[in-house]
């Protein structure tokens, strides 16, 4: 009997050769796609001069100028004045002094960072809380015009944010909510509600109704069945939804740039305004962007199984 037929794999599996070609092409794409992200991280450790030299420096002496520039405000001083000062005490003062400057005070980065956290977590909490309740009702009860209501909820997400921003700006001005944390939390809560209702409805739909029915027979009320059976069962879905809402609020730019200026400004509109001498301060921007990206990258890795579901509002379940 002939034994040279390869029986170690099914005819459906790709051959080793075609796998190798596929891997090669995907790796090339990934290598190109990752360049901008690597560049962000490396530029964060470049000195201001290294960041704008031609040709672009691949190898460079790492510098902490980026993080110092990001967290301080500096003024340029004359050599005589600098000589009259006592020698720099800390490592960051040394870096600033080398470029003939002194630290004038802390920058606004930290405050903007806190704004992003407060608005991100605040809006996430409310949209997931309200979304869970609504999703449960839509999943389990007969509600008049249910499909129309669900479509209405989804349609609010289709509006171009700029088009919605005009009347919201006017309304917020009347209510005194422009440039306030409360205003942004309410706004992001509403924008995220469509996502959280649709996603959570999908997750709750997947929980067998029999669980609750058994609990109801055992004498549970609807509410206690919801709290004791549904919520624990939907925990993964709720967590995934919360992360999606958080990433959205964290990344949101259009409303933030139009409705916040100082008090409640978040990082996305702030980062592009970090300027040094003679233009944008790239090492500082890169440092800010790296700090800003890090949590999103971690969350993406955690969520990788649910990514598509989140982005398509639950339309595609893998």
């Amino acid at each position: 009997m002939s034994t040279n037929i390869d029986t170690s794999r099914s005819p459906l599996e790709a051959t080793a050769f075609s796998k190798r070609i596929a891997a090669f092409i995907v790796i090339i794409y990934a290598a190109i796609a990752i360049i901008p992200m690597l560049l962000i991280v490396t530029t964060a450790f470049k000195s201001t001069t290294d960041a704008i030299t031609y040709p672009p420096k691949i190898l460079f002496k790492p510098s902490l100028e980026g993080v110092v520039n990001l967290s301080t405000q500096r003024t340029r001083q004359s050599k005589e004045y600098l000589k009259s000062l006592p020698p720099p005490r800390t490592w960051y003062e040394k870096i600033v002094r080398k470029r003939q400057m002194v630290i004038a005070g802390p920058s606004r980065f930290f405050q903007r960072f806190v704004n992003s956290l407060v608005i991100g977590f605040g809006s996430t909490f409310f949209s997931v809380f309200l979304g869970t309740l609504a999703a449960y009702a839509f999943s389990r009860f007969k509600i008049p015009l249910k499909d129309d209501l669900l479509f209405f909820i989804l349609s609010t997400r289709m509006f171009p944010p700029i088009a919605a921003a005009v009347p919201i700006f006017l309304m917020y001005r009347k209510l005194g909510l422009n440039d306030t944390h409360l205003g942004m939390i309410v706004l992001y809560t509403v924008v995220n509600l469509s996502l959280s209702v649709w996603l959570l409805k999908g997750f709750i739909d997947e929980i067998p109704k029999e669980y609750e029915e058994a609990a109801l027979v055992d004498g549970y009320s609807r509410l206690s069945a919801f709290f004791k059976i549904i919520l624990p069962q939907a925990a993964t879905g709720i967590a995934a939804t919360a992360i999606f809402c958080l990433i959205f609020s964290w990344n949101e730019y259009a409303f933030a740039i139009l409705l916040t200026f100082r008090e409640a400004q978040t990082l996305p509109p702030f980062i592009p305004t970090i300027i040094g001498e003679g233009g944008l301060d790239w090492p500082a921007i890169a440092t800010a962007t790296s700090i800003f990206m890090l949590p999103v990258i971690v969350f993406t890795i955690i969520l990788r199984k649910h990514l598509l579901r989140g982005i398509t509002f639950g339309a595609v379940r893998k």
Binding site: P11, L12, E13, K19, A22, A23, V26, I27, Y29, A30, A33, P36, M37, L39, T43, I52, P56, L130, L133, A134, F138, F141, K142, I143, L149, F151, F152, L154, S155, M158, F159, P160, I162, A163, A164, V166, P167, I168, F169, L170, M171, V186, E252, Y253, A254, L258, P268, P269, P272, I285, T289, M293, I297, T300, I301, R304, L307, I311, T312, A315
Partner: protein
């Protein structure tokens, strides 16, 4: 509590919030679109101007130029992303060693803030220090050129960045489509001695198509609204060669403070997106039936 009251208690807060923050402002902007209101002048008398703004917008050559810019952006981003995304998905689906890690790496740009990334791309595109020009010149020497300052190249600069951000999305959708194909279809095709190419045309493509179309619709709606990345990268310039609909709206509403005009423009955009959205939902239902 009865089921009925729980249903109301659970859904009403969401619906009330949406009415307040979404529907009420929308109605308000429909009203403003028929007036001469300017948001930066307080206490001015609001006059009814009828359909003046709508006529102006639909007759304006500038607006049609914006629409062309938007159409160019939509067409090329969707076209390139569909091809790249589908090919990547097919390759990833061959399940080579490490394909899961590669999927995660490729997906990352999609999750980052487009505005923040947009700013950084203006550094990448810098004529002198930028790595983009450096790499291009490494292969073909064009000398010094600027992507975002050039009337011809600027529209392509935003297509490139959008492709970088969103190809992974199309890829993920196609991958979901590929994974939904049951093995027995290919097994039957093998038994019938269909070639790999025939299998691709008759099994793979038709099964992936609904997913690809859904991805295209998503990208279409999202890119029609595109604001953040382009606003930071080019700001609509040079001139207005990258002034997409949303950028035009922002300039009219928040720089020129033509509130009546911009409300009318917003309403027109609403209607357009809503129409596209209805098509999308119909499509979605068809997909579910399958």
């Amino acid at each position: 509590m009865s089921d009925r009251s729980i249903a109301w208690l659970f859904t009403l807060p969401t619906i009330i919030l949406l009415i307040f923050i979404n529907i009420y402002p929308l109605i308000w902007s429909v009203y403003l679109s028929f007036t001469n209101f300017k948001a930066n002048r307080r206490g001015m008398e609001i006059k009814w101007v009828g359909t003046k703004w709508y006529e102006k917008i639909l007759m304006s050559e500038d607006v049609w130029a914006n629409m062309q810019v938007t159409a160019h952006f939509l067409f090329w981003t969707i076209f390139i992303q569909a091809i790249l995304g589908l090919s990547l998905a097919i390759f990833l689906n061959r399940k080579f060693k490490g394909h899961e890690l590669m999927t995660t790496v490729v997906v990352l740009p999609m999750m980052l803030s487009p505005a923040v990334v947009g700013v950084f791309w203006s550094y990448i595109y810098q004529p002198q220090a930028g790595i983009f020009n450096y790499i291009i010149n490494f292969f073909i020497d064009f000398g010094e050129f600027t992507m975002i300052g050039d009337f011809v190249l600027a529209p392509w600069s935003i297509v490139i960045v959008d492709t970088w951000i969103w190809t992974p999305f199309v890829m993920l959708m196609c991958l979901a489509g590929l994974k939904s194909i049951p093995d027995y279809l290919y097994e039957a095709a093998e038994v019938d001695r269909a070639s790999k190419w025939q299998q691709f045309i008759h099994i793979t493509l038709p099964s992936v198509m609904p997913f690809l179309m859904l991805a295209v619709l998503f990208r279409g709606i999202e890119n029609f609204k595109m604001f953040d990345m382009v606003n930071e990268l080019t700001g609509g310039g040079p001139g207005s060669v990258t002034e997409l609909a949303s950028i035009h709206l922002k300039r009219a509403a928040f720089e020129k403070w033509r509130t009546g005009y911009s409300s009318a423009f917003a309403v027109i955009l609403f209607v357009t997106v809503f129409g596209a959205g209805s098509i999308y939902v119909k499509f979605l239902n068809k997909l579910k039936e399958k």
